[in-house]
């Protein structure tokens, strides 16, 4: 058995057409439609206590004093923890940036001061949820308010500084310079300048909030963390040093998870408090985040402002380069950051053949919720920029936006970007044609006239986007060469048990993506049985020992890493089953075939067949007759490791990710010029994620990512006032799309198989924000007759559209064209 292996193209096995590619019934569904899923809040333990956090009402303040005595006096209150105890019992979490950003001290509870509204300052544990909440209200915290910083660009002035240890709000800063921007600019026929574009703050807000039930074993000094963390391997890397313990002392167990979208990656601060409380009280401690707390203080998406965008364009519409200053606002603590300062570079030129790109990137802290990876993490913001550039340049220079895209799309694959990434396969123009066909693009001018007659402004938009997947963690070294992270890995185990049970365990942490089903499809095809015969264990458990350092479900990678690992483990099991059957049936290995749950001699007599049960029983329970030099286990663990090579830290180049799924969106909107209300009247999303293992699941992911994008483009916005108070702290004010908000979606697909992945598949769950790009594009197109305003923000609720209609000139002042 190999512990780790590199799967290259030459080693790929050609799979017989079987379950792969077929939308078989999902294995997860039966329990979930009966309310029999096991989500973290469903777990109960004898004597457990419920934990509630006391949170700051201020965005920035010194903590003068905390008095927990009244809470402790309440019957049924088990105990409290404050920042002072945390500072003594734990170390600050590991920071990934370089100095001085790495001097930031991030503890599990606020120590000395609070830096955002909702930051936990104390925790209380009690016999019931209600009591814990009552007790939290009895904890008296005295604050001394400080000046508040809510604007990322303002943060650069360092007039208000959040982290005194760092002495600056800048977390990370660097210039990326690929090709020769200055020359491209000098040789351009047109240079288009856009002063400011703003990508707003929102998040996917999974319907199940975060949570955990933590048990502490005093005898073995180990914690078991039943939770919905979606990246436990990395969670443990943060938690163990902070708790001054080893990774082996933290057992993560997940069951069903009610959505994640990246928002369940940065849970280590809360989980450390739970660990401390469970140890302090000697009892299981449970915490389920409240919705308002999820919105206020957990996982916002990165907010990014693009300043002084310059675009070099040739007379024929060829784009040769761009130059931009990007200010990324990560909120009060970096946590997963500054990785967002490099992740965008996976898609540096977007879908286009830009050769000369210069990006001056700075990330800052402000008194807002910390960010966390959010579906489309960091690439979405950058792809929105590239799509805004296309539409603004096309509109200002009079190019057709479809033709401009097709002229500049990457066409030949594999394609190396200016920063050394390799786009593996695709057909962008093909996807666009399908999308345009689906929205009836040919008839759109007639529809524009029809809408006009009804007093409406009709617009068409396109969003071309990439869903880069299977991260190379080596990209972190482009931010900080000292970081000891690179590559990627994922594990799976496959075994055949005594009565013929086929069992697969995964290192991944599914949150609705149907891993049990797709893993079973791959397993069934390889070892020759039905999907129903394969039992894929629910969730992740450190004690399966089926995980690797980067285990988790994030960064659009399961179809590559997770299923790559399943394929590897299944092939190891298959090979051994064949060997065993050959020995028992006294036939050569080449003569053995596995199908329908039997090992048979091909074209042999019907009785020359062993059911899987026989193979399992021989190895596990009846093995005396096996010779000493033949020792099958029928239990295999495989680690899939994609090959990237090392990155060039000097030139900031390298293969930052493995695969590039494409999504091209197109839509038609109608704007009411009286109110600014935007209605989506036609919508299409075309996906190319290589070989599809389960087309129905792929389509479901496309639908879901599109709905997120529609929400973000029109409704969802974390709005802060000047005091740092979040004005949209729950679903009452933060409007996520409901059934009447999402139009009927049309979908199409192309399968450009990836040449670099085990199954030709690519990760694809994130969608790259295609819907945001395409709706911004459509609104700008619709508003053309009303003074040609420029869509400058990624969120365009009716009032912003109304403002653009009323004052197009102020948006147009944002853009300048110099032609020669």
């Amino acid at each position: 058995m190999s512990d780790s292996a590199v799967t290259t193209e030459s080693q790929q096995t050609t799979l017989q057409k079987g379950f792969i590619g077929v939308s078989v019934p999902r294995k997860e569904d039966r329990r979930l439609v009966q309310g029999q899923g096991l989500f973290v809040d469903d777990i109960r333990r004898h004597g457990m206590g419920y934990l509630h956090f006391v949170r700051s009402p201020y965005a920035h303040a010194k903590i003068v004093s905390i008095d927990v005595s009244a809470a402790l006096a309440l019957d049924g209150v088990y105990g409290t923890i404050t920042g002072d105890e945390v500072a003594i019992q734990t170390d600050p979490f590991f920071e990934m940036s370089v100095a001085p950003g790495n001097q930031i001290k991030d503890y599990a509870l606020a120590v000395g001061k609070v830096r955002h509204m909702g930051e936990p300052v104390a925790a209380v544990c009690a016999a019931t949820r209600e009591l814990a909440r009552d007790a939290a209200e009895l904890i008296e915290v005295e604050y001394e308010p400080l000046p508040v910083l809510v604007d990322g660009v303002e943060a650069l002035k360092d007039e208000v500084v959040l982290h005194d240890d760092a002495g600056t709000n800048v977390v990370w800063s660097g210039v990326f310079d690929w090709g020769d921007w200055e020359q491209a600019k000098a040789e351009a026929d047109h240079v288009v300048t856009i002063k400011k574009l703003h990508f707003h703050r929102f998040s996917s807000t999974p319907l199940e909030c975060s949570g955990a039930l933590v048990e502490y074993d005093k005898g073995t000094i180990e914690w078991t963390i039943h939770c919905n963390h979606q990246m436990p391997g990395v969670g443990a890397i943060w938690m163990a040093p902070a708790l001054r313990t080893g990774l082996d002392k933290l057992r993560f167990v997940t069951g069903d998870i009610g959505g994640g979208f990246g928002n369940k990656i940065c849970l280590h601060p809360q989980f450390v408090v739970l660990c401390l409380m469970a140890r302090k009280l000697g009892r299981p401690v449970q915490w389920t985040e409240w919705r308002t707390d999820q919105h206020t203080a957990n996982a916002h998406g990165n907010e990014r402002t693009f300043l002084d965008v310059e675009v070099a364009v040739r007379a024929d519409g060829t784009l040769t380069g761009f130059n931009v200053r990007a200010i990324d606002d990560c909120g009060a603590f970096p946590r997963y950051e500054p990785l967002g300062c490099i992740i965008w570079a996976q898609v540096t030129p977007g879908c286009y053949e830009w050769k000369n790109i210069r990006v001056d990137f700075t990330q800052v802290c402000t008194n807002k919720s910390p960010v966390s990876p959010n579906r489309g993490y960091s690439r979405m913001q950058h792809l929105w920029l590239t799509e805004r550039i296309i539409d603004i340049v096309a509109a200002e220079l009079g190019f057709d936006p479809v033709e401009m895209r097709k002229r500049n799309y990457v066409k030949e694959f594999p394609y190396e970007t200016p920063n050394g990434c390799v786009y593996d396969s695709g057909d962008y123009a093909g996807c666009l044609d399908i999308a345009l066909d689906l929205i009836g693009y040919d008839g759109v001018e007639a529809r524009r006239e029809d809408a006009k007659a009804r007093g409406k402004l009709l617009g068409v938009g396109i969003g071309s986007t990439l869903d880069s997947g299977t991260n190379n963690f080596g990209q972190s070294q482009l931010l900080n060469p000292e970081l000891q992270f690179s590559g990627n890995n994922e594990a799976a185990s496959a075994k055949l048990d005594i009565f013929g049970e086929v069992v697969v365990t995964l290192g991944t942490v599914p949150q609705g993506q149907g891993h049990e089903t797709t893993a079973a499809q791959v397993m069934a095809d390889i070892i020759g049985c039905s999907v129903d015969q394969v039992n894929v264990r629910r969730g992740h458990d450190t004690w399966f020992n089926t995980h690797a350092g980067f285990s988790g479900t994030y960064a659009s990678q399961f179809a590559v890493t997770g299923l790559g690992a399943v394929k590897g483990a299944a092939e190891m099991l298959r090979d051994e089953m064949v060997k065993l059957a050959a020995f028992v049936l006294q036939a050569p290995e080449e003569a053995i075939e596995l199908s329908d749950g039997f090992a048979r001699i091909k074209d042999g007599p019907p009785e020359a067949a062993l059911p899987f049960m026989a193979l399992g029983a021989i190895v596990n329970a009846n093995n005396a007759f096996l010779p000493p030099d033949f020792n099958p286990t029928l239990n295999h663990r495989y680690v899939y490791r994609p090959y990237f090579g090392v990155v060039d830290t000097e030139k900031k180049k390298g293969q930052l990710t493995l695969t590039y799924a494409t999504q091209i969106h197109a839509c038609v909107v109608e704007v009411d010029p009286e109110t600014g209300h935007v209605e989506i009247v036609d919508y299409a999303a075309v996906d190319d994620c290589g070989t599809r293992i389960h087309p129905q699941i792929v389509e479901g992911q496309v639908h879901g990512a599109t709905a997120h994008a529609i929400g973000a483009a029109i409704h969802e916005n974390f709005v802060y006032d000047e005091d740092g108070t979040l004005l949209t702290p729950n679903f009452y004010d933060y409007h996520v799309p409901h059934a009447l908000d999402v139009p009927s979606l049309k979908t199409g697909s192309i399968e450009s198989a990836s040449p670099v992945t085990p199954l030709g598949a690519k990760g694809m769950g994130e969608g790259g924000g295609g819907g945001i790009h395409c709706i911004c594009s459509a609104i700008q197109d619709a508003l053309r007759p009303a003074g040609r305003p420029i869509v400058y923000d990624s969120c365009n609720p009716y009032h912003r559209v109304w403002e653009m209609l009323r004052d197009p000139e102020s948006t147009r002042a944002n853009v300048e064209v110099v032609s020669r």
Partner: protein, 160 residues
């Protein structure tokens, strides 16, 4: 400052066909009674504001959000939760349709969706797409974009 609960009440409520008599704190929400006191964890909680619908159950045959009602208000009522849809494990046509149409991904909103949709189908057996979308507008799903949920409900209702 909040005071500890002063009053407990004894209630009698029929849940999924079984009569339950229990003393409960007066302030306990129906959803917490179902989940924490009866262990019916199929009914979920997704928000604090009555917006998400994950906690939807039937109250005397009408769909309600069980986070917006006190347990005491259910005294004398018949409550059906998702566990009561297919008590013998034989899935209903609606549950089967959800699976066939891939109307669920993470499954967290699913119980609430099923309860809202089954209430709709009980009085409108062949709903239009608009009627389905209106009936489900109080239920948030963050995974599916509603497309396949709407299809599943229409299919279960035999709609064209």
């Amino acid at each position: 400052m909040t005071q500890a609960p002063a009053t407990d009440l004894t209630i009698a409520v029929e849940v999924n066909g079984e009569l339950v008599e229990m003393e409960v704190p007066a302030r306990r929400l129906l959803v917490h009674f179902l989940r924490d006191d009866l262990g019916l964890t199929g009914t979920h909680i997704g928000c604090d504001t009555g917006n998400c619908g994950a906690c939807t159950v039937h109250y005397d045959g009408v769909s309600i959000k069980s986070c917006m009602m006190l347990t005491a208000q259910a005294d004398g009522a018949k409550i059906t939760t998702v566990e009561g849809l297919a008590p013998d494990g034989e899935l209903t046509p609606l549950q089967r349709s959800f699976s066939e149409h891939h109307a669920l991904q993470c499954g967290y909103c699913t119980p609430g969706m099923l309860m809202s949709a089954s209430a709709l189908l009980s009085h409108t057996p062949h709903p239009t797409e608009e009627e389905v979308r209106v009936a489900l507008q109080g239920n948030i799903c963050r995974c599916t974009g509603y497309m396949n949920i709407v299809k599943a409900v229409m299919s279960a209702g035999g709609a064209k």
